[in-house]
């Protein structure tokens, strides 16, 4: 592996991967909150449409969606996206659908008395959501969002298939240039692992802040895995049925 490959491809590739993760995460979060809150709507048509969206985007494969946006959209709608944005759109829509299930679950888990108290104090529905329900629901969302964020980071590797020059794409080029498959792929696997580790640490910090904000101490994870959180059988089953199902890029 030469210095040139590092400077011209790998390091810019790391930056592209970070940008992709960031933009897709922001887009996915917007979709997740929009859809997740809309799924609690009293109107059946809103619930039906958002439920349909979630099932469609959880049901299909992120890679197929990416190819579809990349190859079919320009032909079908005469509208071509820059590869980077096609990738962000595909990842954001898919992971937004998973995330909306987290949002919905956390909102449903807020004690009913809180909602009733807000109604009794004649808060408007918007105030109820913003002042009472979300502040309590958000700290609960952070751990599952952390898992989803790692899945998203891993899924950004898919963009190399539509020729966005991320870390995986840089690795392919380096392999063709030098032929050192072992060295190159070992290095980038470690790079991804480091990124995942940093993301997890940041999310833990965020969780502690959010929980402190509503006067709770964070749950000690004890002797759990290094990065992902230890889950009980029930949580695992619930979480995998709700979130990871479509999983990974999953």
């Amino acid at each position: 592996m030469t210095a040139g490959l590092w400077e011209n491809w790998l390091l810019p590739g790391v930056w592209i991967t970070i940008q992709l993760t960031l933009y897709s995460a922001i887009f996915a979060a917007v979709v997740a909150f929009g859809i997740g809150i809309a799924r609690t709507s009293p109107l059946w048509i809103v619930r039906f449409l958002t439920g349909f969206y979630v099932e469609v985007f959880r049901g299909t494969s992120a890679l197929v969606l990416m190819f579809w946006l990349f190859f079919v959209m320009p032909l079908a709608f005469q509208y071509q996206l820059v590869p980077m944005w096609a990738a962000v759109l595909a990842l954001g829509l898919t992971y937004g659908a998973y995330g909306s299930e987290i949002v919905r679950g956390a909102i449903a888990a807020v004690a009913p008395a809180q909602r009733e108290a807000a109604i009794a104090l004649s808060f408007t529905p918007a105030q109820r959501m913003r002042r009472v329900i979300l502040p309590q629901a958000i700290p609960e969302m952070i751990p599952p969002f952390n898992n989803l964020l790692i899945e998203l980071l891993k899924a950004t590797a898919l963009v190399s298939a539509v020729s966005v020059a991320d870390i995986t794409f840089a690795a392919q080029l380096s392999r063709l240039a030098t032929g050192d498959s072992l060295e190159i792929y070992a290095i980038i696997l470690v790079l991804y692992f480091v990124l995942a580790f940093v993301l997890t640490r940041l999310m833990r910090l965020l969780e502690r802040r959010a929980k402190a904000g509503i006067g709770q101490a964070p749950v000690k994870s004890g002797k759990g895995p290094l990065i992902t959180r230890k889950l009980s059988a029930r949580q695992e089953a619930e979480q995998s049925s709700n979130i990871i199902t479509a999983g990974g890029a999953q």
Binding site: T60, V64, S160, F193, S232, A233, Q235, T245
Partner: protein, 216 residues
Amino acid sequence: MSWNWDVAKDFLPELGKGLLITLEATALGSVLAFALGLVWAMAFRSPTRFVRWPVAAVVEFIRNTPLLVQLFFFYYVLPTWDIKFSALTTGVIALGLHYSTYTAEVYRAGIDGVPKGQWEAATALSLSRGRTWIAVILPQAIRRVVPALGNYVIAMLKDSPMLALIGVVDMLQKARAEGASSFQYIEPYTMVGIAFIVIAYPASLLMRALERRLGH
């Protein structure tokens, strides 16, 4: 939007062939993931930390790095060690290994959920370690995690198109080939996308029903 039914009809047999490969990769990958995951989960319970720690580190590493890169790793690095597999076999190994790190957590959760009294009873009856696992712990642990395992099979199905990127002729690869040879992109890719939803949605409904039945 210019949907052409003739193109769709011509592509249908190809889609069917691709579907078989997709299902084959998913099924074989699942078998590997279920078996390896159980090995990891039992290693987590090993009495010596010289087994527990390395296994935990490897499992963490595999789970937190992208499947696609692992796929390329196996596809390009194994041949340099004179281990030559077909693209499909390589894909199945990578898929199974990657998901075994998820199923390991599922099994672990299931094993942790078995009451401590069961372990103690097995000791009191002086069952051997092997008998304790096979006759007492695993039957109780696995029953409760079946739906969670099923969900990972669905997740694997949806990750299997990645195998197309190392040349496995699955549904996505069939669509790519169709696009490359006839410049028809709209119908093949759309059909592949729909095929995934058509398989994954009923499967996830089935898992939800199973979850309710097995109850927690």
